[in-house]
Symmetry: C2
Subunit: 598 residues, 2 copies
Amino acid sequence: MKLKRTHYIGELDNTFIGKEIIISGWVLRRRDHGGVIFLDVRDRTGLLQVVFEEGIDPEIHNLADSIRIEYVISVKGLIRRRPPGMENPKIPTGEIELVAKEVEILNISKTPPFPMDEDLSEISEAIRLKYRYLEMRALDGLKPFIFRHKVNQIIREFLNSKGFLEIETPFLTKSTPEGARDYLVPSRLYPGKFYALPQSPQLFKQILMVAGVDKYYQIVRCFRDEDLRADRQPEFTQLDIEMSFVEENDVMSIVEELLAYLFEKALNITLETPFPRLSYETALRDYGTDRPDIRFDMKLKDLSHLFRETTFKVFRDALESGGIIKGLKVPANFSRKELDELTKFAQELGAKGLAWIKYNKNASSFEEKWSSPIVKFFEISILEKLEEVFNPLEDLATFFFVADKEDVVNSVLSELRIHLAKKINLVPENKFNFVWITDFPLFEWDEEENRLVSVHHPFTHPKEEDIPLLDTDPLKVKSKAYDIVLNGVEIGGGSIRIHKRELQEKIFKLLNIPLEEAQEKFGFLLTALEYGAPPHGGIAFGLDRLIMLMLGKKSIREVIPFPKTQRAQCLLTGAPSEVKIEQILELHLLPGWKKDKT
Amino acid sequence: MKLKRTHYIGELDNTFIGKEIIISGWVLRRRDHGGVIFLDVRDRTGLLQVVFEEGIDPEIHNLADSIRIEYVISVKGLIRRRPPGMENPKIPTGEIELVAKEVEILNISKTPPFPMDEDLSEISEAIRLKYRYLEMRALDGLKPFIFRHKVNQIIREFLNSKGFLEIETPFLTKSTPEGARDYLVPSRLYPGKFYALPQSPQLFKQILMVAGVDKYYQIVRCFRDEDLRADRQPEFTQLDIEMSFVEENDVMSIVEELLAYLFEKALNITLETPFPRLSYETALRDYGTDRPDIRFDMKLKDLSHLFRETTFKVFRDALESGGIIKGLKVPANFSRKELDELTKFAQELGAKGLAWIKYNKNASSFEEKWSSPIVKFFEISILEKLEEVFNPLEDLATFFFVADKEDVVNSVLSELRIHLAKKINLVPENKFNFVWITDFPLFEWDEEENRLVSVHHPFTHPKEEDIPLLDTDPLKVKSKAYDIVLNGVEIGGGSIRIHKRELQEKIFKLLNIPLEEAQEKFGFLLTALEYGAPPHGGIAFGLDRLIMLMLGKKSIREVIPFPKTQRAQCLLTGAPSEVKIEQILELHLLPGWKKDKT
């Protein structure tokens, strides 16, 4: 480099007028006005107009003339005030420009596959991921990653100030397939043995509590070889926290403090703490989900009791076969076409159908007030009770009903609730509503495996008062677990952990994990629990997801620098890829794949 | 927990006298003096004496009486001044004690496999690693990790203040086996394809420069499936740095500034900057190695010229077969037994023998002044020249000589130099001498592969002035690479990278990598270089190694929370381990191992 950068563009302002500087960067735009060449040059920090004037050395002019979009250049010149009327108030350097004296082309560039100075959201994601470096270099392309950098720093700053220690845990660790599927790493030195990439540092952070660390955190990559539905990634980043001598409230308070600090510092938004708390039961009752979006109300109502005596066959059948009926009131009316679409939406979610009643409070006739094909099945007293249940009622409203098994009713209506709220613009922008979900059941019954499985993980501590129920009615046992939900998205979860071997063994037994298997998989934890394990608990955040929500992005891929596709491929590097057969044999493995599976 | 901690022990001092507090922690020691029970209780922050006095509630006394070493307890009580004469000036809480009112046993503990209040360096590492959590909880056991936490924070603080962005790169990436052996991760979705764990984020950080990030860093885990000689780990942590629009000096300066900041903040040690720089050639000439320990002088001298005419067969033979003779002067005399041992040491390192001359400046006779079986072969003028070469000479000294091929001479004498310096206590304690090694050759010749290979990696930029030599004499080409060495240990290395596709392709060609293979492996980088890649360069530090040296530890295992053994095993969890056959089949792999290899 002949021309060494003296300043970042972001440093420049009117105080530089008259000064000679050198900038380096990329050419975003070029214009040629009768021999005068204008280049808009940018670096990470800003954008500056560079002018090659008419009188300039012809050699330099020719060089400048050869410069194209995205060339990498250094320019030496004098900062001057732009001529009157030529200012650009949209950029911080809009009142100045650089009059070039010398220019050096540091690298040329092919024409990018998409424009670099426009919104790229219309460009296919496949192209953007393949040329991720160009997407990042495009205007505002680095913003999510600069923000992410900031978020990491703020989180660390807070946790450091609270005495948390950042401690690194292994990536090549032991496969303990209780939970999602592990990514495996074959061992070369031990034929037939494998490391596993961590799904989370759960066991290590518990070990660190036994080690007396007291307060631990880590911003750490985790791995799950799952079938990639929805917005998931094979590798994702977790903010992992663990504390000793704590109860649920201690963890929840520090998290609230952390998030309030983060939102204040990163977004200048003041969060109200403590966050509301909903029991798992209440969340399911009122929202049909343990990930409720509480930015708007529209709670579900259990109407089973109300419709107990109805002659409407659909409702009666559902109730008689042990199901329930829940309803939802939306403060709007819909066209017949819309109602048909909503019915289809509900059916796609697994409902047999969707019943609805259009309501017009001030209508003069019954038919206009209660408009629906199913009204005829209901006595007026039932409709009046409906008015009561959904009180206060807007002038216009629509009631939706789903009658089915409880889990179907809940999953359909919870999705419908979100869908309808978006449809009628009931979801406020730029609002961040956190809610804790607590009092989860410790176990649920897995039909497929025909055994109890952990709702969170097998190290979750049961509520003290429910411990006797472990022997009598384990499905009734509640746990010391808590999830944190932001705007309807689960962004974190944690629990108080079991810290005594005896109880941990009992849980394994209830999960139908033979002691021998438990010993083989988790023996090191069981042993550690015998050597003075303190009471402890913690939480883990999906950091990608949190940052996505903070930025109002639609996908975590927007906030991960080099994400994989929904099919677990890296479009930039082409991973996963074939390797040499020698590499496979060295791992004592034989290729056994059928090519047609590819 | 009935007794919730109100204070960490480290917070307590004389100002707490008379106050009621609750502490939680582990029992380090217990003593019973005629019914009065003393417990030394510790948490991460300190140690406090707890007293259960005679008059206490018998129930509490009985509970206290049942408490054993490493039990986890909470104690509520009153802080009071210790009785005169009972103070312990060795600990910060030595003037106070906690008079217990209540106690809660939070967990019991088996007797630990080693003492918790003594130096554990005599305990076998295998036991310590198996019970790593107890080693950490033992007195001072967490110190290395608290220090490591601090180092991470200081590094980030510095780099953030300089505008570096912390950006995360993928762990599941593409196998590019140029360098060490990759750890592979079989893909479940793509039979026959594999991810590889990164040996370093090299390609991604270069891509980030093309993306306009300008300044990047990451504290990141890296993986190498190497044969684990010496003090290496399958996974290790790297401080990874990359910058755009820079030359060698820019990277070296910011690193010097970073290290000076780190040593000042973490160790209160002022480093002198800039660090000395040695060319690769000079380092080999003067120290026989590119990792010289410059805490002491004792340079090697090339004596080939001096001994050109000698009749001493060993020297003559070496010279005649194209070898060299180098010598080392040590300011001490050694016994015949010591000299025999040193000869053996040299032979184990690959020398045919070790010639030596004992020197006594003030001796009255020639035989006393020059004492050695080989002196008879040398004319007095040669010995006088030897005095000149090693001027200034101490009263007593010993010269050592190795005659052999250049690389044997260098490797033997460089090791001997360290060995002798330690032997005569010439290596100062607590001194941190950094040195840059520069001007490395770009290539070396690999006899085995019968081709040029990169001394650093294939992305290293050649010196501008040597680029013409690529076509004519590539082994003469020097690179823009630099290593940083601390006290004889390489702790980091980096380079200016190639930023133009044409040059990168030329290098691949010289490395005998067919364009098709280069395209297949590194195509994404080659493509990125076509879209406005800026000049860029960086460095990577072995953070484990740096922290080890800062703490004066002998092994990186001492500063890694959960290290693997030299044989790549985790003694805590037992990784790597066997997995279910279903897991292997799901990855489209067939077990092909021979059990006897285990």
